[in-house]
Subunit: 201 residues, 2 copies
Amino acid sequence: MQETGQTPPARPHTGRRRNEAAHQAILDAALHLLADSDGTPVTIDAIARTAGVGKQTVYRWWPSKGAVLLDALTDRADQDVPGPDTGTLRTDLRTFVATTFDAAQHSTTASALRTVAREAARDPHLAELMRTFTATRRTALRDLLSRGRERGELADDADLDLIVDQVYGVFWYRFLLGHAPLDTATAERLADSLVTGNTAD
Amino acid sequence: MQETGQTPPARPHTGRRRNEAAHQAILDAALHLLADSDGTPVTIDAIARTAGVGKQTVYRWWPSKGAVLLDALTDRADQDVPGPDTGTLRTDLRTFVATTFDAAQHSTTASALRTVAREAARDPHLAELMRTFTATRRTALRDLLSRGRERGELADDADLDLIVDQVYGVFWYRFLLGHAPLDTATAERLADSLVTGNTAD
DNA sequence: GCTTGACAAGACTATCAGTCTCGACAACCA
DNA sequence: TGGTTGTCGAGACTGATAGTCTTGTCAAGC
Protein backbone atom coordinates (compact mmCIF):
# COMPACT_ATOMS: atom_id res chain seq x y z
CA MET A 1 0.00 0.00 0.00
CA GLN A 2 1.44 3.35 -0.88
CA GLU A 3 0.89 6.02 1.72
CA THR A 4 -0.84 8.84 -0.02
CA GLY A 5 -1.29 11.13 2.98
CA GLN A 6 0.89 14.05 3.94
CA THR A 7 4.50 13.45 4.83
CA PRO A 8 5.15 13.78 8.58
CA PRO A 9 6.24 17.23 9.80
CA ALA A 10 9.95 17.94 10.09
CA ARG A 11 9.63 18.97 13.74
CA PRO A 12 9.53 16.20 16.33
CA HIS A 13 6.00 14.94 16.76
CA THR A 14 4.04 16.29 19.70
CA GLY A 15 0.30 16.09 20.27
CA ARG A 16 -2.07 13.18 19.99
CA ARG A 17 -1.05 10.23 17.81
CA ARG A 18 -2.80 8.95 14.76
CA ASN A 19 -5.56 6.51 15.55
CA GLU A 20 -4.64 3.36 13.65
CA ALA A 21 -8.00 1.78 14.37
CA ALA A 22 -9.73 4.66 12.61
CA HIS A 23 -7.29 4.39 9.73
CA GLN A 24 -8.07 0.73 9.24
CA ALA A 25 -11.79 1.30 9.75
CA ILE A 26 -11.76 3.80 6.89
CA LEU A 27 -10.03 1.38 4.54
CA ASP A 28 -12.35 -1.43 5.63
CA ALA A 29 -15.42 0.71 5.10
CA ALA A 30 -14.21 1.87 1.70
CA LEU A 31 -13.48 -1.68 0.59
CA HIS A 32 -16.84 -2.95 1.80
CA LEU A 33 -18.71 -0.16 0.07
CA LEU A 34 -16.69 -0.68 -3.10
CA ALA A 35 -17.39 -4.38 -3.05
CA ASP A 36 -21.11 -3.86 -2.58
CA SER A 37 -21.42 -0.95 -4.96
CA ASP A 38 -21.32 -2.74 -8.31
CA GLY A 39 -20.47 0.42 -10.14
CA THR A 40 -22.59 2.92 -8.27
CA PRO A 41 -20.52 5.71 -6.79
CA VAL A 42 -19.27 5.45 -3.23
CA THR A 43 -19.53 8.69 -1.27
CA ILE A 44 -17.12 10.03 1.31
CA ASP A 45 -20.01 10.59 3.69
CA ALA A 46 -20.90 6.92 3.46
CA ILE A 47 -17.30 5.85 4.05
CA ALA A 48 -16.96 8.12 7.09
CA ARG A 49 -20.31 7.11 8.52
CA THR A 50 -19.64 3.40 8.02
CA ALA A 51 -16.22 3.74 9.61
CA GLY A 52 -17.70 5.74 12.49
CA VAL A 53 -15.34 8.56 11.76
CA GLY A 54 -15.54 12.26 10.94
CA LYS A 55 -15.04 13.35 7.34
CA GLN A 56 -12.14 15.49 8.40
CA THR A 57 -10.31 12.40 9.64
CA VAL A 58 -10.56 10.96 6.14
CA TYR A 59 -9.27 14.13 4.53
CA ARG A 60 -6.50 14.47 7.07
CA TRP A 61 -4.84 11.35 5.72
CA TRP A 62 -5.91 11.17 2.11
CA PRO A 63 -6.00 14.04 -0.37
CA SER A 64 -9.14 13.01 -2.22
CA LYS A 65 -11.86 10.44 -2.35
CA GLY A 66 -10.11 8.68 -5.21
CA ALA A 67 -6.98 8.22 -3.14
CA VAL A 68 -8.97 6.50 -0.42
CA LEU A 69 -10.63 4.19 -2.92
CA LEU A 70 -7.44 3.21 -4.66
CA ASP A 71 -5.67 2.75 -1.36
CA ALA A 72 -8.45 0.49 -0.15
CA LEU A 73 -8.29 -1.49 -3.36
CA THR A 74 -4.54 -1.95 -3.47
CA ASP A 75 -4.31 -2.54 0.27
CA ARG A 76 -6.38 -5.68 0.07
CA ALA A 77 -6.55 -6.71 -3.55
CA ASP A 78 -3.98 -9.16 -4.76
CA GLN A 79 -0.93 -6.97 -4.67
CA ASP A 80 1.39 -9.49 -6.23
CA VAL A 81 1.32 -9.10 -9.96
CA PRO A 82 1.79 -12.51 -11.57
CA GLY A 83 5.33 -13.08 -12.85
CA PRO A 84 5.49 -16.71 -14.02
CA ASP A 85 8.84 -17.84 -15.41
CA THR A 86 8.71 -21.41 -16.64
CA GLY A 87 11.21 -20.92 -19.42
CA THR A 88 8.56 -21.08 -22.15
CA LEU A 89 6.93 -17.88 -23.38
CA ARG A 90 3.67 -19.47 -24.42
CA THR A 91 3.15 -21.04 -21.02
CA ASP A 92 4.17 -17.94 -19.10
CA LEU A 93 1.93 -15.72 -21.20
CA ARG A 94 -1.02 -18.09 -20.90
CA THR A 95 -0.65 -18.07 -17.13
CA PHE A 96 -0.26 -14.31 -16.91
CA VAL A 97 -3.28 -13.54 -19.07
CA ALA A 98 -5.45 -16.19 -17.44
CA THR A 99 -4.56 -14.90 -13.97
CA THR A 100 -5.31 -11.33 -14.98
CA PHE A 101 -8.64 -12.27 -16.54
CA ASP A 102 -9.52 -14.43 -13.58
CA ALA A 103 -9.15 -11.52 -11.14
CA ALA A 104 -12.08 -9.86 -12.88
CA GLN A 105 -14.31 -12.84 -12.15
CA HIS A 106 -14.27 -12.37 -8.39
CA SER A 107 -17.17 -10.12 -7.74
CA THR A 108 -15.58 -8.28 -4.83
CA THR A 109 -12.50 -7.27 -6.74
CA ALA A 110 -14.49 -6.73 -9.89
CA SER A 111 -16.99 -4.23 -8.57
CA ALA A 112 -14.28 -2.41 -6.65
CA LEU A 113 -12.15 -2.15 -9.78
CA ARG A 114 -15.13 -1.07 -11.83
CA THR A 115 -16.07 1.66 -9.40
CA VAL A 116 -12.52 2.94 -9.14
CA ALA A 117 -12.24 3.01 -12.94
CA ARG A 118 -15.46 5.01 -13.14
CA GLU A 119 -14.36 7.46 -10.50
CA ALA A 120 -11.05 7.83 -12.31
CA ALA A 121 -12.90 9.08 -15.34
CA ARG A 122 -13.93 12.16 -13.37
CA ASP A 123 -11.15 12.56 -10.86
CA PRO A 124 -7.80 13.59 -12.37
CA HIS A 125 -5.98 12.78 -9.16
CA LEU A 126 -7.32 9.24 -9.13
CA ALA A 127 -6.58 8.93 -12.84
CA GLU A 128 -2.95 9.66 -12.08
CA LEU A 129 -2.86 7.01 -9.36
CA MET A 130 -4.49 4.56 -11.75
CA ARG A 131 -1.78 5.24 -14.30
CA THR A 132 0.80 4.14 -11.73
CA PHE A 133 -1.31 1.14 -10.83
CA THR A 134 -1.57 -0.01 -14.45
CA ALA A 135 2.05 0.83 -15.25
CA THR A 136 3.22 -1.66 -12.63
CA ARG A 137 1.27 -4.40 -14.31
CA ARG A 138 2.33 -3.43 -17.80
CA THR A 139 5.96 -3.55 -16.74
CA ALA A 140 5.58 -7.04 -15.30
CA LEU A 141 4.08 -8.29 -18.55
CA ARG A 142 6.68 -6.53 -20.62
CA ASP A 143 9.47 -8.20 -18.67
CA LEU A 144 7.90 -11.58 -19.28
CA LEU A 145 7.79 -10.88 -23.01
CA SER A 146 11.32 -9.55 -22.99
CA ARG A 147 12.60 -12.78 -21.49
CA GLY A 148 10.83 -14.70 -24.23
CA ARG A 149 12.30 -12.51 -26.91
CA GLU A 150 15.82 -13.06 -25.57
CA ARG A 151 15.20 -16.79 -25.88
CA GLY A 152 14.22 -16.24 -29.49
CA GLU A 153 10.56 -17.00 -28.96
CA LEU A 154 9.57 -13.63 -30.38
CA ALA A 155 10.88 -11.76 -33.38
CA ASP A 156 13.68 -9.33 -32.60
CA ASP A 157 11.60 -6.45 -33.90
CA ALA A 158 8.38 -7.50 -32.16
CA ASP A 159 6.61 -4.48 -30.62
CA LEU A 160 6.44 -5.55 -26.99
CA ASP A 161 4.54 -2.46 -25.87
CA LEU A 162 1.89 -3.19 -28.45
CA ILE A 163 1.56 -6.79 -27.29
CA VAL A 164 1.21 -5.59 -23.71
CA ASP A 165 -1.54 -3.21 -24.78
CA GLN A 166 -3.31 -5.94 -26.71
CA VAL A 167 -3.57 -7.93 -23.49
CA TYR A 168 -4.62 -5.07 -21.22
CA GLY A 169 -6.67 -3.47 -23.97
CA VAL A 170 -8.80 -6.58 -24.36
CA PHE A 171 -8.97 -6.93 -20.61
CA TRP A 172 -10.25 -3.41 -19.84
CA TYR A 173 -12.40 -3.18 -22.95
CA ARG A 174 -14.30 -6.36 -22.10
CA PHE A 175 -14.24 -5.64 -18.38
CA LEU A 176 -15.79 -2.20 -18.67
CA LEU A 177 -18.09 -2.81 -21.61
CA GLY A 178 -19.08 -6.29 -20.47
CA HIS A 179 -20.12 -7.51 -23.90
CA ALA A 180 -17.94 -10.64 -23.95
CA PRO A 181 -16.42 -13.02 -21.40
CA LEU A 182 -12.97 -12.92 -19.81
CA ASP A 183 -12.62 -16.65 -19.28
CA THR A 184 -9.61 -18.94 -19.31
CA ALA A 185 -10.29 -20.24 -22.81
CA THR A 186 -10.24 -16.69 -24.14
CA ALA A 187 -7.05 -15.97 -22.23
CA GLU A 188 -5.29 -18.94 -23.77
CA ARG A 189 -6.50 -18.15 -27.28
CA LEU A 190 -5.27 -14.60 -26.87
CA ALA A 191 -1.88 -15.67 -25.52
CA ASP A 192 -1.40 -18.21 -28.31
CA SER A 193 -2.30 -15.81 -31.10
CA LEU A 194 0.03 -13.17 -29.70
CA VAL A 195 2.95 -15.58 -29.66
CA THR A 196 2.18 -16.88 -33.14
CA GLY A 197 1.60 -13.40 -34.54
CA ASN A 198 4.97 -12.13 -33.34
CA THR A 199 7.42 -14.96 -33.93
CA ALA A 200 10.54 -14.48 -36.03
CA ASP A 201 9.88 -16.68 -39.07
CA MET B 1 -28.65 10.64 -35.83
CA GLN B 2 -31.03 8.69 -33.67
CA GLU B 3 -33.88 10.70 -32.21
CA THR B 4 -33.70 10.19 -28.52
CA GLY B 5 -36.60 12.43 -27.52
CA GLN B 6 -40.16 11.42 -26.74
CA THR B 7 -42.31 9.90 -29.43
CA PRO B 8 -44.95 12.33 -30.74
CA PRO B 9 -48.33 12.22 -29.04
CA ALA B 10 -51.07 10.07 -30.56
CA ARG B 11 -53.49 13.00 -30.78
CA PRO B 12 -53.11 15.34 -33.72
CA HIS B 13 -50.59 18.04 -32.96
CA THR B 14 -51.95 21.39 -31.84
CA GLY B 15 -50.07 24.26 -30.21
CA ARG B 16 -46.82 25.87 -31.16
CA ARG B 17 -44.39 23.82 -33.27
CA ARG B 18 -40.95 22.68 -32.33
CA ASN B 19 -38.31 25.28 -33.00
CA GLU B 20 -35.83 23.58 -35.33
CA ALA B 21 -33.38 26.44 -35.01
CA ALA B 22 -33.23 25.91 -31.26
CA HIS B 23 -32.82 22.17 -31.79
CA GLN B 24 -29.84 22.71 -34.04
CA ALA B 25 -28.43 25.43 -31.81
CA ILE B 26 -28.38 22.95 -28.91
CA LEU B 27 -26.51 20.32 -30.91
CA ASP B 28 -24.12 22.97 -32.24
CA ALA B 29 -23.46 24.31 -28.77
CA ALA B 30 -22.92 20.83 -27.36
CA LEU B 31 -20.50 19.94 -30.12
CA HIS B 32 -18.56 23.16 -29.73
CA LEU B 33 -18.29 22.74 -26.00
CA LEU B 34 -17.28 19.10 -26.41
CA ALA B 35 -14.62 20.04 -28.93
CA ASP B 36 -13.21 22.73 -26.66
CA SER B 37 -13.51 20.77 -23.46
CA ASP B 38 -10.54 18.41 -23.75
CA GLY B 39 -11.95 16.07 -21.19
CA THR B 40 -13.40 18.52 -18.72
CA PRO B 41 -17.10 18.03 -18.16
CA VAL B 42 -19.61 19.93 -20.23
CA THR B 43 -22.57 21.22 -18.23
CA ILE B 44 -26.16 21.47 -19.32
CA ASP B 45 -26.26 25.07 -18.18
CA ALA B 46 -23.37 25.88 -20.48
CA ILE B 47 -25.01 24.13 -23.41
CA ALA B 48 -28.30 25.96 -22.85
CA ARG B 49 -26.63 29.32 -22.34
CA THR B 50 -24.42 28.91 -25.41
CA ALA B 51 -27.40 27.87 -27.49
CA GLY B 52 -29.45 30.79 -26.16
CA VAL B 53 -32.10 28.39 -24.96
CA GLY B 54 -33.81 27.49 -21.70
CA LYS B 55 -32.76 24.31 -19.92
CA GLN B 56 -36.29 23.01 -20.14
CA THR B 57 -36.05 23.12 -23.92
CA VAL B 58 -33.07 20.80 -23.73
CA TYR B 59 -34.85 18.40 -21.41
CA ARG B 60 -38.00 18.48 -23.48
CA TRP B 61 -36.20 16.77 -26.33
CA TRP B 62 -33.48 14.73 -24.68
CA PRO B 63 -33.82 12.57 -21.59
CA SER B 64 -30.41 13.34 -20.09
CA LYS B 65 -27.25 15.30 -20.59
CA GLY B 66 -25.53 12.21 -21.92
CA ALA B 67 -28.11 11.78 -24.64
CA VAL B 68 -27.47 15.33 -25.85
CA LEU B 69 -23.73 14.78 -25.90
CA LEU B 70 -23.86 11.51 -27.79
CA ASP B 71 -26.43 12.91 -30.20
CA ALA B 72 -24.18 15.88 -30.89
CA LEU B 73 -21.22 13.59 -31.40
CA THR B 74 -22.90 11.13 -33.74
CA ASP B 75 -24.74 13.88 -35.56
CA ARG B 76 -21.55 15.47 -36.77
CA ALA B 77 -18.72 13.02 -36.22
CA ASP B 78 -17.84 10.82 -39.13
CA GLN B 79 -20.88 8.65 -39.17
CA ASP B 80 -19.62 6.31 -41.87
CA VAL B 81 -17.68 3.54 -40.28
CA PRO B 82 -14.87 2.49 -42.62
CA GLY B 83 -15.66 -0.65 -44.60
CA PRO B 84 -12.79 -1.18 -47.04
CA ASP B 85 -13.09 -4.22 -49.30
CA THR B 86 -10.05 -4.62 -51.53
CA GLY B 87 -10.13 -8.39 -51.60
CA THR B 88 -7.11 -8.76 -49.33
CA LEU B 89 -7.59 -9.05 -45.61
CA ARG B 90 -4.26 -7.60 -44.63
CA THR B 91 -4.87 -4.46 -46.67
CA ASP B 92 -8.46 -4.05 -45.53
CA LEU B 93 -7.51 -4.51 -41.90
CA ARG B 94 -4.60 -2.10 -42.14
CA THR B 95 -6.89 0.54 -43.62
CA PHE B 96 -9.62 -0.03 -41.05
CA VAL B 97 -7.31 0.14 -38.06
CA ALA B 98 -5.36 3.10 -39.43
CA THR B 99 -8.59 5.01 -40.10
CA THR B 100 -9.90 4.26 -36.63
CA PHE B 101 -6.66 5.31 -34.97
CA ASP B 102 -6.47 8.41 -37.13
CA ALA B 103 -9.86 9.64 -35.93
CA ALA B 104 -8.36 9.98 -32.46
CA GLN B 105 -5.70 12.34 -33.77
CA HIS B 106 -8.15 15.07 -34.72
CA SER B 107 -8.43 17.14 -31.62
CA THR B 108 -12.07 18.05 -32.15
CA THR B 109 -13.26 14.47 -32.39
CA ALA B 110 -10.79 13.33 -29.77
CA SER B 111 -11.81 15.65 -26.98
CA ALA B 112 -15.48 15.08 -27.77
CA LEU B 113 -15.00 11.33 -27.62
CA ARG B 114 -12.97 11.58 -24.45
CA THR B 115 -15.57 13.70 -22.72
CA VAL B 116 -18.40 11.43 -23.76
CA ALA B 117 -16.47 8.40 -22.54
CA ARG B 118 -15.91 10.07 -19.19
CA GLU B 119 -19.53 11.06 -18.84
CA ALA B 120 -20.53 7.52 -19.76
CA ALA B 121 -18.62 6.25 -16.75
CA ARG B 122 -21.11 8.03 -14.50
CA ASP B 123 -24.27 8.09 -16.58
CA PRO B 124 -25.86 4.66 -17.10
CA HIS B 125 -28.14 6.02 -19.80
CA LEU B 126 -25.20 7.33 -21.79
CA ALA B 127 -23.31 4.09 -21.18
CA GLU B 128 -26.15 2.22 -22.88
CA LEU B 129 -26.04 4.58 -25.87
CA MET B 130 -22.28 4.12 -26.03
CA ARG B 131 -22.74 0.36 -26.17
CA THR B 132 -24.84 0.80 -29.29
CA PHE B 133 -22.32 3.22 -30.72
CA THR B 134 -19.44 0.80 -30.24
CA ALA B 135 -21.44 -2.23 -31.35
CA THR B 136 -21.94 -0.65 -34.76
CA ARG B 137 -18.21 -0.31 -35.21
CA ARG B 138 -17.46 -3.78 -33.91
CA THR B 139 -19.90 -5.28 -36.38
CA ALA B 140 -18.28 -3.49 -39.31
CA LEU B 141 -14.87 -4.81 -38.34
CA ARG B 142 -16.22 -8.30 -37.76
CA ASP B 143 -17.74 -8.36 -41.24
CA LEU B 144 -14.42 -7.39 -42.72
CA LEU B 145 -12.72 -10.24 -40.87
CA SER B 146 -15.46 -12.64 -41.83
CA ARG B 147 -14.93 -11.89 -45.51
CA GLY B 148 -11.23 -12.63 -45.05
CA ARG B 149 -11.92 -15.87 -43.30
CA GLU B 150 -14.19 -17.01 -46.13
CA ARG B 151 -11.32 -16.36 -48.52
CA GLY B 152 -9.11 -18.57 -46.35
CA GLU B 153 -7.00 -15.71 -45.06
CA LEU B 154 -7.82 -16.60 -41.47
CA ALA B 155 -8.05 -20.00 -39.79
CA ASP B 156 -11.54 -21.48 -39.74
CA ASP B 157 -11.50 -21.53 -35.98
CA ALA B 158 -10.11 -18.01 -35.57
CA ASP B 159 -11.92 -16.12 -32.81
CA LEU B 160 -13.15 -13.10 -34.75
CA ASP B 161 -14.71 -11.44 -31.72
CA LEU B 162 -11.40 -11.63 -29.93
CA ILE B 163 -9.59 -10.06 -32.88
CA VAL B 164 -12.17 -7.27 -32.96
CA ASP B 165 -11.66 -6.65 -29.28
CA GLN B 166 -7.90 -6.57 -29.68
CA VAL B 167 -8.29 -3.72 -32.17
CA TYR B 168 -10.80 -1.71 -30.16
CA GLY B 169 -9.18 -2.71 -26.89
CA VAL B 170 -5.83 -1.25 -27.94
CA PHE B 171 -7.62 1.75 -29.37
CA TRP B 172 -9.58 2.69 -26.24
CA TYR B 173 -6.86 1.65 -23.85
CA ARG B 174 -4.29 3.90 -25.47
CA PHE B 175 -6.83 6.63 -26.19
CA LEU B 176 -8.03 6.94 -22.62
CA LEU B 177 -4.77 6.22 -20.83
CA GLY B 178 -2.65 8.18 -23.30
CA HIS B 179 0.56 6.38 -22.50
CA ALA B 180 1.44 5.37 -26.07
CA PRO B 181 0.69 6.66 -29.58
CA LEU B 182 -2.10 5.68 -31.96
CA ASP B 183 -0.21 6.33 -35.16
CA THR B 184 -0.34 4.68 -38.55
CA ALA B 185 2.79 2.62 -38.00
CA THR B 186 1.25 1.12 -34.89
CA ALA B 187 -1.99 0.45 -36.75
CA GLU B 188 -0.16 -1.47 -39.45
CA ARG B 189 1.91 -3.48 -37.02
CA LEU B 190 -1.23 -4.38 -35.13
CA ALA B 191 -3.10 -5.38 -38.27
CA ASP B 192 -0.20 -7.48 -39.53
CA SER B 193 0.28 -9.33 -36.26
CA LEU B 194 -3.43 -10.08 -36.03
CA VAL B 195 -3.46 -11.60 -39.52
CA THR B 196 -0.28 -13.58 -38.91
CA GLY B 197 -1.39 -14.74 -35.49
CA ASN B 198 -4.68 -16.13 -36.76
CA THR B 199 -3.86 -17.79 -40.08
CA ALA B 200 -4.66 -21.43 -40.75
CA ASP B 201 -1.22 -23.02 -41.06
C1' DG C 1 -60.04 34.80 -29.69
C1' DC C 2 -59.45 30.31 -27.34
C1' DT C 3 -56.79 26.16 -26.55
C1' DT C 4 -52.60 23.96 -26.57
C1' DG C 5 -48.00 23.07 -26.51
C1' DA C 6 -43.17 25.26 -27.14
C1' DC C 7 -40.39 28.70 -25.51
C1' DA C 8 -36.66 31.57 -22.36
C1' DA C 9 -35.52 32.58 -17.89
C1' DG C 10 -34.43 31.20 -13.83
C1' DA C 11 -35.79 29.59 -9.12
C1' DC C 12 -35.61 25.38 -6.81
C1' DT C 13 -34.23 20.54 -5.04
C1' DA C 14 -31.03 17.03 -4.34
C1' DT C 15 -26.48 15.09 -4.29
C1' DC C 16 -21.84 15.16 -3.27
C1' DA C 17 -16.74 16.67 -2.82
C1' DG C 18 -14.16 19.15 -0.09
C1' DT C 19 -13.50 22.92 3.73
C1' DC C 20 -14.15 24.89 8.12
C1' DT C 21 -15.37 25.13 12.99
C1' DC C 22 -16.01 23.36 17.54
C1' DG C 23 -15.36 21.19 21.74
C1' DA C 24 -13.16 16.96 23.49
C1' DC C 25 -9.18 14.39 24.10
C1' DA C 26 -4.51 12.18 24.12
C1' DA C 27 0.60 12.46 24.00
C1' DC C 28 4.42 14.61 25.34
C1' DC C 29 7.11 18.11 27.95
C1' DA C 30 8.46 21.26 31.48
C1' DT D 1 0.27 19.00 37.24
C1' DG D 2 -0.76 21.88 33.74
C1' DG D 3 0.36 23.79 29.00
C1' DT D 4 1.00 22.94 24.06
C1' DT D 5 -0.02 20.58 20.12
C1' DG D 6 -2.09 17.65 16.93
C1' DT D 7 -6.08 14.17 16.29
C1' DC D 8 -10.69 12.96 17.02
C1' DG D 9 -16.07 12.85 15.88
C1' DA D 10 -19.72 15.67 14.53
C1' DG D 11 -21.71 18.33 11.56
C1' DA D 12 -22.45 22.99 9.41
C1' DC D 13 -21.10 25.15 5.29
C1' DT D 14 -19.71 26.16 0.25
C1' DG D 15 -19.75 25.34 -4.48
C1' DA D 16 -20.80 22.67 -8.51
C1' DT D 17 -24.08 20.56 -11.21
C1' DA D 18 -28.10 17.37 -12.86
C1' DG D 19 -32.59 17.57 -13.29
C1' DT D 20 -37.50 19.58 -12.07
C1' DC D 21 -40.86 23.10 -11.59
C1' DT D 22 -42.89 27.70 -12.24
C1' DT D 23 -44.06 31.74 -14.70
C1' DG D 24 -45.24 34.60 -18.16
C1' DT D 25 -44.94 34.72 -23.28
C1' DC D 26 -45.59 33.33 -27.87
C1' DA D 27 -47.09 30.81 -32.12
C1' DA D 28 -50.19 27.40 -34.60
C1' DG D 29 -54.43 26.02 -35.61
C1' DC D 30 -59.55 25.53 -34.76
